[in-house]
Amino acid sequence: MDFLYELAELSINGALVGLMYALVALGIVLVFKASSVANLAQGALVMVGAYLTWASMELGGAPLWAAIPLGIIAMFFIGRGIERVTLRRMIGQPVIMVIMLTLGLEIMLRGLAPAVFGPVKKRLDLGLDTAPIIIGPVFIDKAYLMTGVVALALVALAAIFFGTRQGIMLRAVSDDQTASWSVGIPVERAIGISWGLAGVAAAAAGILWGSVQGVDWTLSLLLIKALAVAILGGLDSIAGVVIAGLVVGVLENVAPVYLERIGIAGTRDVVASLVILATVIVRPYGLFGREDIERV
């Protein structure tokens, strides 16, 4: 029984972390859905979102209930700004250029934010109490529980959003940009909104992750986990993000513990990369993605 309890504890906590990965990956999926552009800047956006929220609380003196919406709104406009200033100029360029551009943004922000706000790790206190919840012999980390539930709610919100008028507009644009244009949908605006929403997802993820592990540049390392989740889920599927987030989170929490017992230590960091590699080899369109990925 001990074995089962241990597995349950690892899985539940892993799943909750996975939901938070899913929130980061949501930004990648939103942008890919609308414009088929790879958003490799999502890790840095998460970090910037966390820094901005921290700054409005600590430097601006805003209370918590104001700082969170402030951070989210600021990130919406930063996301739109990035699209307007850089990506709109890249329309029609080869995909390698766009990928490199977002990666360039990622590493620029990764260096810039600590330079502006100082390199010391910041505490972002959401006022959650951290005592674990104990169900029988299973310990559940309360901070992860709260943040995981919030993350799930936000992903659900994104799924609902795609049923609204704006959301349908985004879906049309993701399906066929030229056709959307011809029926009068403002394609540039739709892509801009998708980047804004990626910023919102990044801000939410940044606040949640910042409250768990503190705010510094290491938040941008979430990029690789988010990419693993997005690719496993299938890049253009919101449901896929949740499922893949759970899978990656559980794998990352469970596998290293058992591997360590058979003598392979420290596998935690490499799980996400192996998930990416396995997905690309076995099922490149992911669990729920559309199968029309161009093959060579």
């Binding site: 990928i99 490199m100 990666l103 590493i107 922000l109 330079a115 490149p284």
Partner: protein
């Protein structure tokens, strides 16, 4: 002005097809090569060891990556991992008693083999997937090196490189190591200068421009993309081995982290995709700019007596690489090579600017 075109008439096919049909370009090349060869006598040991040597080695690496990114049009975000495989293979082979020349080839082959395993997996798909798979390759190779004691010699270990020995001659002077790196660089450069004139180069460009169009005219995209991966990884492995033996003279996992991959990508993009000259420019700017910017920021901090945290200094290169990549992609997507080309085109017809077409 400098580039006199008057009197340059080609009467044979071989003269029309030569690499540098304009005499001034040839003289310039000869002058640059002469300065490069005589560098140990011209420059101080400090300049030779900390600027010229890394520049030459990194240019070699950038050329290898440019073959993949510029000619074949594939993204590779794990080039440092490829170089790491080369460096570790070379060091372990030489320590096991293999002559250095053979170890260098082994380094290239090991990098090419492992690079192709990842490349082959990634080439079934393209674009974002390829980028992410190479990113995964970087972290998997990093992890393997750190966690397998047989490779890294234990965690946090540094493997000292044995003395360089080429064709039986021990090379233990700064100048000798520099000349060796320069010779490798020259071989790689001449390969890349000529690759555009071969069927391989033309096939790569065809695949880059439109892969299914290439497939229709009988150029197998998968085969040529894999070949590009193979060549590029081979060059990367050799460059990694040269970097380990001639520059660091030791090897640790930290030398080949993700930041180094990004640095290599920045070199190619800043220099110019698909340009040999650009790879040299890009490597130079990306290597030297952070040094000057660091000094500059330090000077400002001292002048204004601001306290400057060490970690901020360590983040400056990242900001710079990012800004360079973004700036060049937005404003000069063909990089420094294009800037040079613009200047050259201006002087080609100077002062008759109206004659430019």
């Amino acid at each position: 002005m400098f580039y006199r075109l008057a009197g340059v008439r080609h009467t044979t096919y071989s003269s029309a097809r030569q690499l540098y049909p304009i005499p001034f370009d040839r003289y310039l090349l000869i002058a640059v090569v002469a300065v490069a060869v005589a560098a140990p006598f011209l420059f101080s040991p400090l300049a030779l060891n900390s600027y010229l040597l890394p520049w030459v080695i990194w240019s070699t690496a950038a050329l290898g990556l440019n073959l993949l990114m510029g000619w074949a049009g594939q993204v590779h975000l794990g080039y440092a991992a490829v170089m790491a495989i080369g460096a570790y293979t070379a060091i372990h082979s030489v320590r096991a008693g293999v002559p250095f020349e053979v170890a260098l080839i082994l380094a290239g082959l090991a990098s090419a083999a492992i690079g192709c395993v990842f490349g082959g997996a990634a080439l079934r798909v393209k674009g974002l997937y390829l980028a992410v798979t190479t990113l995964a390759m970087q972290s998997i190779v990093d992890w393997t090196i750190v966690h397998v004691p047989a490779i890294s010699g234990g965690s946090q270990a540094t493997l000292q490189a044995p003395t360089l020995q080429v064709l039986g001659w021990p090379i233990d002077t700064d100048a000798g190591r520099y000349w060796f790196a320069l010779a490798i660089c020259a071989v790689v450069t001449s390969f890349l200068l000529n690759v555009s004139r071969t069927s391989l180069g033309r096939a790569l460009v065809a695949v880059r421009e439109k892969d299914f169009a290439a497939a229709i005219i009988g150029v197998s995209p998968f085969k040529y993309k894999l070949l590009a991966f193979w060549c590029s990884s081979f060059i990367g492995g050799v460059a990694g081995a040269v970097l380990a033996f001639c520059y660091y003279r030791a090897v640790t996992p930290e030398q080949f982290h993700l930041e180094v991959s990004i640095q290599a990508v920045a070199m190619v993009i800043v220099g110019g995709l698909g340009s040999v000259l650009g790879s040299f420019f890009g490597a130079g700017l990306v290597l030297l700019a952070p040094i000057f910017l660091n000094n500059f920021v330090n000077a400002i901090a001292v002048a204004l007596s601001l306290p400057l945290h060490a970690e901020i200094i360590s983040h400056i290169p990242l900001v710079l690489y990012g800004a360079l990549i973004v700036g060049f992609l937005l404003y000069e997507p063909l990089g420094l090579a294009k800037v040079y080309d613009n200047v050259r085109n201006y002087f080609l017809v100077w002062p008759f600017r109206h004659a430019r077409h």
